[in-house]
Amino acid sequence: MLETLSDRLQQTLRFGTGKTLTLENMDDALKDVRRALLEADVSLRVVKEFIGRVREKAEGEAVLKSVNPGQQLVKVVHDELVHLLGETYAPLNLDEGSPNIIMMFGLQGSGKTTTSGKLARRLRKAGHNPLMIAADVYRPAAVDQLVALGKQLGIDTFSIAGSTDVQQIARQGLDKAKAEGFSHVIIDTAGRLQVDTDMMAELLLLERSFKPHEKLLVIDAMTGQEAIHVAEAFNTQLSVTGMVLTKLDGDARGGAALSVVSVTGKPIKLVGLSEKMDGLQDFHPDRLAGRILGMGDVVSLVEKAQSAIDEDEAKAIEAKMRKNEFSLEDFMKMQRMLKKLGSLDQILGMLPIPGLTKEMREMVAHGGEGQLKRIEAMINSMTPEERRQPDLIKKSRAQRIARGSGTKPEDVTQFLQMFEMMRAMMGGLTRASDQAKSGDQAGAEASMNKTMHSAMGQLMGKKGKKGKKNKMKGFPGMPGMPGMPGMPGFPSLPGGGKGGGFPFK
């Protein structure tokens, strides 16, 4: 699996010259950005220009001083991508001619014929009356394919059996459209290489003769470095009016989109998302930007986190962790902050976790949220004193809390054990992170090991003791360790230091 840019940037910046992005470590960070873009198939030339723009933005103080420069840089990159991809956004020109002429062209296998069918269907849904013209006279059965699609969709198709005269086909098709009152014609042309001068001349002739209102270059989302040459050549010769990015329902990152937009200055107008005829949609620059960076919708999560998390409060909580004073009250505060981000299901959905299906997500989230509700009920049944000093809670208090929260006393003790372990770990991790930041690598590792060790020890020890106790007192039916799926809703801490960290890696 490809690493996401965020992961990589975090690694680069974590043990760099410090926790902030500086002019010194900027180069390393931008190298990560470059690599991410190249792996997404953005053409090198475009990557270079793009990195220049990102550097300019990042060198501004906004990024340098931000609390989590890695994430902040990702956001700069993302925003810049959206900006470039969407700046020239324009819908199809649909109401200029009578009929409107739409010409489709591109490399072989890019998806012109399928897209023609989809576009016709879309136009008809919008109340228009389209006619498809089958002008791919080279590929065997290409005309049959368009005619079959037309039949399937109930849309008229014009073709001349046996003719290889593209001009004549287009001319007669257009005449038919005019005579019969079609509002749009879609001319499906043969796939061709941009360096094939004869074939390019054929398109040029069509273009000169019929002055199409839309000249759509169809580009496969899986295209590699070559995309830039394809788009450049078609645009130079035919001055395209827009592009259709196809096969976006695959798992390609689709960086070619950035290449073609940036080299032509023309917008992507539509995207193909399925083999089915309804799989043609408007283009959403933000979605594609996130996809190119392989980051799910982390950016909106970052934005949400920024608005949802109170920085002062986060700082105060962190200070407490450092001193092992983190209480159940703080825990509740943290939970409340996280809740503002959305449901667990929503948060999981925004994270780029490979292979996480909707079903799995809902299952995890469902279990997690139930767990959280019970925990909240328990904490609400505690006295303020108990919340600050959970150690006070012994058997009778646990029984009271259980009664008040509709849980079992065992659940209460179990939660408290986990909380204690978590607190120990957080203190240790915060210290380890401090040491790492001050360059004390060995110290950081030692702290980390110690933390893990003591946390585990604590858990095991408590468990052992409890087991014994149970046995002695003869508690029957002690429900072992029921499903406590980690600590849901309590992701990694604002390790970044100054508070305002983000609740994900």
Partner: protein
């Protein structure tokens, strides 16, 4: 002369599943069934001139920069700038960042001078394509004239499967072989008509279905091939609908077709599952190779649309990541625009700024 190439008894570091037992059991008799135009006296450059011409653009891209680099005749190690230019040239040709960075890094560590760069690159690329450690047969399409030969052709939408099949059928028919094409693309509109045109041009038999059951077509084709009794040297080429590799159900369907092949093929047969990859594809080709390999036990890659300005760098990336040899190369839309992949010629074509 070449023998049937068995992945299972090659020293290939392949991580892919091994060949079917039927294949591994014994060596069949064999004969050369290479590109029929190979014997043409098309001048010194011979059969590969088409590919050379096709690679011109790639070379201009790849070597345009290397040429200025290699013009420096001194023995100074390349400086950072030159190494970066080297890396970028490779990236531009779709070699992939990993491979490009690794090669540039090796060049830096070895302190290579500009003059040493080309020999170094040649050797490394040969290694990547398996042309050094493997026998030259690594890249040869298997064929046995004493048994049934089954070619299972898969790939994403628009990769060029049907065209490749037409060309492949033409080649075998040209050698006097019986060729049956199974029209397994039951999904795309008019796919069967397209294949029908190619079958007719090539002089091959076409097996179609009235239903949408792709596996049934495979069954019918294999039965037809064996009904006459003697299958020695016969060829069955199976077309499949294009599918994006993340479409689970469609990949399952391929698995089903593969199981029919395993069940219905005679005990001794040649099995080649070829992934058709458009040469303009970027890094997604790696994901394609990985997922299709899991579904159908791929034995090789056919790189299509390598004419014009196509790049070929992705071949190295696939070979490196998945140990999958490129076996065929499509260089045009004509029925004989199909070449055997020759790693040495391919690399020389990339690196040789003479010629043309």
């Amino acid at each position: 002369m070449f023998k049937l190439f068995n992945r299972s008894d090659s020293p290939s570091p392949s991580s892919a599943p091994s060949a079917t037992p039927a294949q591994a059991c014994e060596k069949p008799n064999s004969e050369t069934l290479a590109d029929p135009s190979a014997g043409d006296s098309s001048g010194v450059k011979g059969a590969f001139s088409g590919l050379r011409a096709a690679l011109r653009q790639t070379r201009n891209g790849l070597l345009g920069q290397l040429k200025t680099l290699t013009a420096d005749a001194s023995d100074k190690p390349l400086d950072a700038e030159a190494l970066e230019a080297f890396e970028e040239a490779l990236i531009r040709a779709d070699f992939g960042v990993d491979l490009a960075v690794a090669l540039a890094e090796q060049a830096r560590q070895k302190g290579l001078s500009a003059r040493q760069l080309k020999p170094f690159l040649r050797e490394e690329l040969m290694r990547v394509l398996g042309a050094v450690s493997q026998s030259s047969r690594f890249n040869e399409l298997s064929y046995g004239d004493d048994r049934l030969n089954i070619y299972f052709v898969v790939g994403v939408n628009g990769a060029g499967k049907t065209t490749l099949i037409g060309k492949l059928a033409h080649r075998f028919v040209g050698h006097g072989k019986r060729v049956i094409i199974a029209a397994g693309d039951t999904f795309r509109a008019a796919a069967e008509e397209q294949l029908g045109v190619w079958a007719q041009r090539a002089g091959a038999e076409l097996v179609q279905t009235q239903t949408n059951d792709a596996a049934a077509v495979v069954y019918d084709a294999l039965r037809l091939a064996q009904d006459g009794g003697d299958v020695a040297g016969s060829v069955v080429i199976i077309d499949t609908a294009g599918r994006l590799q993340n479409k689970f159900n469609l990949m399952e369907e391929l698995g089903k077709m593969k199981r029919i092949i395993d069940k219905e093929a005679p005990a001794r047969h040649v099995y080649e599952a070829l992934l058709v990859v458009d040469a303009t594809t970027g890094q997604n080709a790696l994901s394609q190779a990985k997922v299709f390999a899991q579904a159908v036990n791929l034995t090789g890659v056919a790189l299509t649309k390598l004419d014009g300005s196509a790049k070929g760098g992705i071949a190295f990336h696939i070979a490196k990541a998945h140990q999958l040899p490129v076996k065929l190369v499509g260089v045009g839309e004509q029925i004989d625009d199909l070449k055997d992949f020759d790693a040495v010629a391919f690399i020389d074509g990339l690196l040789d700024e003479e010629a043309l």
